[in-house]
């Protein structure tokens, strides 16, 4: 098990729900933390009576949503200025990504919640292209119920075997993330092909 995960688990056991909220929030903002593995372990802790399953799920959903909203809000407020300074605005790939997000905000926001770090990138882009807040919140919330729910649920079911399942679960999460990224890229490629014949 990675040393970063060990540290997270120690903090979860010592500081409990405060640590859970902090870790999930920071992970949603974009820090490369093994949040899914930590939630898997937390599900096991809940099965052992050490945490409340429903309390942990509710807190994870709220912290995830707040983290995603943070990225969205920062990009919406300051994104244009940063892009102008970096001269990224006119890059063709970036404009195509913007178009993808504008035309299919709901499906893009929803699917990228399951794509690891792409989720944080999508939050920033959604803010930049000014995806309606209501659309962002709704589809972000729905996906944020599913993602931690699955991790916590699997951890709860496998209980004391969660450590054995950790690799299995990480691989499944990786398969889902790569599939989502491919899905988004294929949609972009189809739109480009349609646009330029």
């Amino acid at each position: 098990m990675g040393s970063l995960l060990n540290v997270l688990l120690s903090y979860l056991l010592v500081y409990r729900y405060a640590a859970l909220a902090f870790v999930v929030y920071i992970g949603a903002v974009g820090a490369p933390l093994p949040v899914n593995e930590a939630l898997l372990a937390l599900g096991a802790f809940a099965s052992q009576g050490y945490f409340s399953f429903w309390g942990s799920l509710a807190l994870s959903i709220v912290a995830n949503c707040l983290g995603d909203l943070t990225g969205y809000a920062i990009a919406r407020r300051y994104g244009d200025r940063i892009l102008r300074a970096l001269h990224i605005r006119k890059a063709r790939f970036f404009t195509n990504l913007e178009e993808e997000l504008r035309s299919d905000a709901a499906i893009t926001v929803f699917t990228t919640r399951f794509a690891g770090s792409l989720s944080s990138v999508t939050n920033l882009l959604a803010g930049l292209v000014k995806v309606p807040l209501s659309t962002f919140i709704l589809y972000d919330f729905i996906a944020n119920v599913i993602e931690p729910g699955v991790a916590l649920g699997i951890g709860y079911v496998v209980g004391n075997y969660w450590d054995d399942f950790s690799n299995f679960f990480t691989i499944i999460a990786g398969i889902v993330a790569v599939s989502v990224i491919m899905f988004v890229l294929i949609r972009m490629q189809r739109k480009i092909a349609k646009k330029y014949g």
Partner: protein
């Protein structure tokens, strides 16, 4: 020609998709391998998860399962896991840290200048002695 000039990034997306496809294939192969590892360890049987074993495993652990103990665990968590009296490990390991039981085995090993492996072994032996004492 004009359309090709306008969409050089279309080629990059294709390259990215090919790379991701290869990565996906590797992940699927790892998934299959991991599935058979879990089958071999009898954690998953042919029909799926070994539910009777899992249901049992949600209860307190016993002396034969001290192998689950890791340095990141707190004493409070271990007490819950093995249904130990609150101060049992504190007395057995002579812990004077006021943070007990909300302290990790890792911190205990640092405070006592021993390795994590030795600290885990101390805890495991204390738990085994508890269950052996109970058996008598």
């Amino acid at each position: 020609m004009e359309s090709k000039k306008r969409q050089p990034h279309g080629r990059y997306i294709t390259i990215a998709l090919i790379c991701l496809g290869v990565l996906l294939a590797i992940l699927v192969a790892l998934f299959v391998r991991e599935y058979f590892v879990l089958r071999h360890a009898n954690i998953i049987n042919r029909r799926g998860l070994s539910f009777p074993a899992f249901i049992q495993k949600h209860g307190p652990l016993n002396a034969s399962e001290v192998g689950v103990i890791r340095p990141w665990m707190t004493f409070d968590y271990i007490n819950r896991l093995f249904a130990l009296p609150k101060d049992y490990l504190k007395d057995q390991l002579d812990i004077s840290d006021p943070h007990y039981p909300n302290d990790t085995i890792g911190n205990y090993s640092s405070a006592n200048k021993i390795t994590d492996v030795a600290a885990v072994a101390d805890v495991q032996n204390a738990i085994i002695n508890y269950f052996n004492k109970d058996a008598f």
